[in-house]
Amino acid sequence: MSVSSSTSSTLVPVPSPCISVCTMDPRSALCTGCLRTIDEIAGWSRYSDADKQAVWLRIAERRARG
């Protein structure tokens, strides 16, 4: 993805991490598909792009930790 210095709102919005698995793991309390908590899934539509990017980074950390 190319990095733009533009601050306009024409950049691609942050996509949802949902991959339609939508089953919670009772031990980790994360969705087994997208590795988000229930609050992160429920709150997604209200998040700013910065919030959404922070969720994606947490997902990457969770995946790295296994």
Binding site: S9, V14, S16, C31, I38, I41, S45, S48
Partner: protein
């Protein structure tokens, strides 16, 4: 990199759970200090997460009402589970109330699409033209045929917010199911796009995908797509077949091609599509559709096993 997409301005009494493609989005309304209403309940295999999402946002309220925009299994699959867990009353659009009472799975399209849905019962009807008080605001029920002849949309004129179901997404709309059986659907869908243009919503909450505000652009794309489908109804039929196969793959994730063909041979829509448009051996219709999904990166097929592919 910096991007400035603002969080969509939703009223504080309204929460949108953006799901994927197997489950529709769900909209939760906080009606007052004690009660809440949910619009659409997702697919049956996601029902526990749907309930968990609702419960996480209730803050001591009870879910007392469930509304369905239409009775496709990705919008009403969690009905029974949520009704049982919460005691909520269910309101459905008119048109299929008898079919729901008898649980006629052919009329309800679950069997015809090769999909599943737990049996539910309804309490109320969402009659077009009526107003419903949801999240401390008035919402009007609008008849929305096209994708499904019995679909409705919900319109809030004060805030200019439209819950569009599958009549309009940011990039397209749901397949036009009536047309694959030779019934009218393109004309109804065109009328729906005209209606949405006249309403001029500030914010659209679609049945799938993120809520969006650039409604004119979405309408432009939808008009283009509808023109292409109307000019070539076989294309609509092919799209519906592919969408239904992708839907099944999202649920089961992977299975042998032969098993997929056997499962879908019992689904009436695939037989209707084949008879009306293609007239090839049934397995050829499925194989061709799978190859088209593979070509666009929506599926994989190795050693006779078909698998979902994300992204």
């Amino acid at each position: 990199m910096k991007s400035n997409h603002p969080a969509v301005a939703l009223p504080p009494t309204m929460q949108v759970f953006e799901r994927g493609w197997l489950s529709s989005n769900n909209v939760l309304f906080l009606d007052d200090d004690r009660t809440a209403t949910l619009v659409d309940t997702g697919y049956v295999s996601h029902r526990e997460q749907t309930l968990a999402l609702v419960q996480s946002q209730l803050s001591g309220r009870r879910l007392t009402r469930i509304l369905n925009t239409h009775l496709h299994s990705d919008h009403c699959g969690g009905n029974a589970f949520l009704q049982h867990a919460t005691g909520a009353r269910l309101a459905i659009p008119p048109g299929l109330t008898d079919a729901v009472e008898r649980w006629d799975e052919d009329l309800l399209t679950f069997r015809a699409t090769g999909q599943e849905c737990d049996r539910f019962r309804h309490d109320d009807v969402l009659a077009p033209g009526t107003n419903w008080r949801l999240g401390e605001r008035d919402w009007k029920v609008l008849s929305a045929p096209g994708h499904d002849p019995h679909s409705i949309m919900l319109w809030n004129p004060a805030d200019q917010i439209l819950i569009s179901a599958d009549a309009l997404w940011q990039h397209g709309f749901g397949g036009i199911f009536p047309e694959i059986e030779g019934e009218s659907g393109f004309a109804e869908q065109a009328a729906m796009l005209e209606l949405i243009a006249r309403l001029a919503p500030r914010l659209v909450i679609p049945g799938h995908g993120a809520p969006f505000t650039d409604v004119d652009a979405a309408l432009g794309r939808a008009h283009q797509r509808l023109a292409a489908l109307s000019a070539d109804p076989a294309r609509n039929a092919r799209q519906v077949a592919k969408a239904l196969i992708k839907f099944y793959l999202l649920d089961v994730r992977s299975l042998p091609l032969g098993t997929l063909i056997r499962h879908l041979s019992g689904a009436r829509y695939f037989n209707v599509i084949n008879e009306r448009y293609f007239r090839v051996p049934f397995e050829q219709l499925i194989e061709r559709s799978v190859l088209e999904l593979v070509a666009v990166g929506a599926a994989e097929c190795h050693d006779g096993v078909v698998a979902n592919r994300d992204g």
